[in-house]
């Protein structure tokens, strides 16, 4: 069924279709309407779920962790400082291998206070062990929430579905709301290997030693390092499972593509712009302009940031002269995180093959600074002439 609604509603509809049954909610701009919508569904009886209006984001994720440990399909959403407040729990959920799905409506982090869009919040959670998916439009938002539950429960790893605050959360677009029966066919009920219960009691997440240790049956149990290794290992495997998710989704819903990257006019491009989220769609306008000038340029959205699809990305950029990475976040003191990861993937897979493109990093839209398409076009045009700088270049800065 096609409707016109905003990005937050798209996310809420995804959560409803997935029959999430424990929802923790705490308000923060620009996520708030998402969890408000969920409260409407729950109170109207359209969702059979426990809705817990917690007293902080740290508690929001605590509720999800406990609920998921006991076998519920849980959900919460947040932005910026809310995500930062629950950071301890973010690490915890991944280490505890819980298939929680959380929407992060990307917003700039304090200090100083800023409610507008950039991606510093989710990018700063890069190393926690969560899978991260980035959406470019409302269709991707609702579809990603559905895919995320399937993927998370398959690999027992929590997933952040990220989309740009205001730019996507508050704007209206047409999109298809999948049929409930089809979603039920795609996503079975949550059946964890173990859910906390009193018949077979277990003590979860207790103190784990550096070394391995024998259990009461005389078998050697994993030490902390093994447990953490498996998280990493299974995150890497998740790349393959993500492709499976994409294919299953396409089979049932009739739409899908490359699970890892979303290219536009990249096949014959000499230069490729790369980004995460809605910015890559805005870049398409710049691409079209430059193409008319005869510049062979394309843009590629990266759909999974973690696990990083290094092979897919390196293959897509093989033989290109230059890669221009536009980011709404950075690792302060060095450069954009995506640029670093890209450079490392290119080096890893293409060094010595004679086809290593340069990487130009542009930082834009920090704190919601308006990204003018004109600036994108100009910066891209300049980068296709020659690499502008080794250091990241900030677009739209008004010093």
């Amino acid at each position: 069924m096609h409707i016109i609604e905003n990005g937050n509603v798209a996310a809420a509809l995804g959560v409803k279709l997935c029959h999430a049954n424990v929802i923790a909610a705490y308000p923060i701009t620009p996520q708030t309407p998402l969890t408000e919508k969920l409260s409407e569904y729950v109170e109207a009886g359209e969702m059979k779920a426990e809705y817990i209006p917690v007293e902080s984001e740290h508690s929001a994720l605590a509720v999800c962790i406990a609920a998921s440990s006991a076998g519920a399909r849980s959900f919460t959403a947040t932005s910026a400082n809310g995500l930062l407040y629950m950071h301890e729990q973010v690490h915890w959920a991944a280490g505890a291998r819980l298939p929680i799905v959380m929407c992060v409506v990307n917003r700039a982090v304090g200090a100083p206070w800023n409610v507008w869009n950039d991606q510093q919040d989710s990018i700063s959670q890069r190393d926690t062990g969560w899978i991260q998916m980035y959406c470019c439009d409302h269709q991707q938002i609702i579809d990603s929430v559905i895919k995320a539950y399937w993927l998370a429960e398959k690999v027992s790893i929590p997933i952040m579905v990220c989309y740009d605050g205001y730019i996507l959360s508050h704007t209206y677009m047409p999109f298809d709301v999948p049929d409930q029966e089809k979603v039920d066919a795609f996503l079975p009920p949550f059946r964890p290997d173990y859910a906390l219960n009193t018949e077979e009691p277990a003590n979860l997440n207790t103190v784990t030693l550096p070394d391995v240790r024998m259990d009461i049956k005389g078998e050697i149990a994993h030490g902390y390092m093994e447990i953490r290794y498996l998280l990493h290992e299974e995150m890497r495997t998740a790349l393959t499972v993500a492709a499976e998710a994409e294919k299953r989704f396409a089979d049932i819903f009739g739409r899908g593509g490359d699970p890892y990257v979303e290219p536009y006019l990249c096949d014959d491009a000499e230069y490729v712009a790369v980004g995460l989220g809605s910015l890559t769609y805005q870049l398409r306008v710049a691409i079209d302009t430059l193409r008319k000038e005869g510049i062979r340029v394309g843009v590629m959205g990266v759909r999974f940031y973690r696990p990083f699809p290094d092979v897919a990305v390196a293959n897509a950029l093989k033989g290109k002269k230059g890669v221009i990475v536009y980011e709404k976040a950075l690792s302060y003191g060095y450069e954009g995180a995506l640029a670093s990861d890209l450079k490392s993937a290119l080096y890893e897979h293409l060094a010595g093959t004679g086809t290593l493109p340069f990487v130009q990093n542009f930082i834009a839209g920090i704190g919601g600074r308006d990204i003018r398409t004109d600036d994108l076009t100009q910066s891209l045009r300049a980068a296709t002439k020659s690499r502008v700088s080794k250091e990241p270049v900030w677009i739209g800065l008004k010093l």
């Binding site: 740290h58 076998g71 003590n203 207790t206």
Partner: protein, 300 residues
């Protein structure tokens, strides 16, 4: 009215194995053991970092026989809420949730989540075992450390601030049941848990828990010292049922007896109070006397 449990009528089934990693003479071990008897096997426990985390042991071996979720320091009551929500959607209404947290994890870092859960009327029992400091990490001061106590980070001057009255804070949430108990009076603790377990909303327990290394005494005197706290009138055993306050057990008997042991005996039994001067003790004695004058008055 329920009959009081005696040592002979206390259920014999144990829910803790011997060989816990608790210190010698740990007061928590006593309170926990009897508390679990009151809660029974259809209970899921929630435990933040604390002495109890250590008591329960190191992966992959646990000394507790019940299901237990270990959680982050600040999130105990929120985690309990999450488990409750899941039990509700699963239709498992016979299973109880019990959170056990230390005083640091309750009065300091855990207070926000606890207040939130209480305000939402989350239907679980929260038991704070108060050994009056962050004992697990080496006896640093917490919000419930009493004034004058020497701790690892109040080493020479002792704690300068009063003990935070957490039961009073929880009572302000209009709970159906709030109780002060002591590890030295385990039967009183047992009866109170059994009494309130089916009452609505959050039930709050504050359990005075003697700690040999943290308080500075020979472990064998743990129960004696716990009793002294009560018999000096310094620490009271009570319950607040739907807003109505009532002293219980040994504290209730003291109202009839009208005779309190001087509190100096309590302070002199533990090396953590070694810097308390006679003058300071006199001030505290006056406060205790005033409090009890009030109790006697209400009784008349």
């Amino acid at each position: 009215m329920q009959a009081k449990t005696t040592i002979l009528s206390l259920p014999t089934e144990e829910f803790v194995h011997p060989g816990t990693r608790a210190c010698t003479g740990c007061g928590l071990a006593i309170a926990y053991r009897v508390g679990l008897k009151a809660l029974g096997k259809d209970t899921i426990l929630v435990v933040p970092p604390s002495c109890l985390t250590v008591l329960q042991g190191l992966f992959p071996i646990a000394s507790t026989k019940l299901a237990c979720l270990n959680v982050t320091f600040a999130s105990t009551a929120a985690a309990a809420s999450g488990i409750l929500a899941t039990l509700k959607v699963q239709g498992k209404d016979n299973i109880k949730v019990a959170a056990w947290a230390g005083d640091g994890g309750t009065s300091d870092i855990g207070l926000q989540a606890l207040s939130g859960a209480a305000e939402r009327g989350e239907n679980f029992i929260y038991l704070c075992y108060d050994n009056e400091g962050y004992m697990n990490t080496g006896a640093q001061r917490s919000g419930t450390t009493p004034i004058g106590a020497v701790t690892a980070n109040t080493p020479f001057k002792g704690k300068l601030q009063q003990k935070k009255d957490v039961p009073a804070i929880m009572a302000a949430h209009n709970l159906s049941y709030v109780a002060e108990c002591s590890a030295a009076y385990p039967l009183d603790l047992f009866d109170k848990i059994r009494k309130c377990i089916d009452m609505p909303g959050t039930k709050y327990f504050h359990i005075h828990t003697p700690c040999p290394p943290g308080w500075g005494y020979d472990p064998r005197y743990g129960i004696k010292i716990g009793r002294l706290a009560v018999e000096t009138g310094y620490y009271d055993l009570y319950e607040i049922v739907n807003g109505e306050f009532k002293l219980t057990a040994a504290s209730e008997k003291l109202v009839e007896k009208r005779k309190l042991i001087p509190v100096r005996e309590y302070f002199r039994s533990q090396s953590r109070f070694r810097i308390l001067t006679d003058a300071q003790i006199a001030v505290i004695q006056n406060q205790i006397d005033a409090k009890w004058a009030n109790y006697y008055k209400k009784d008349e």
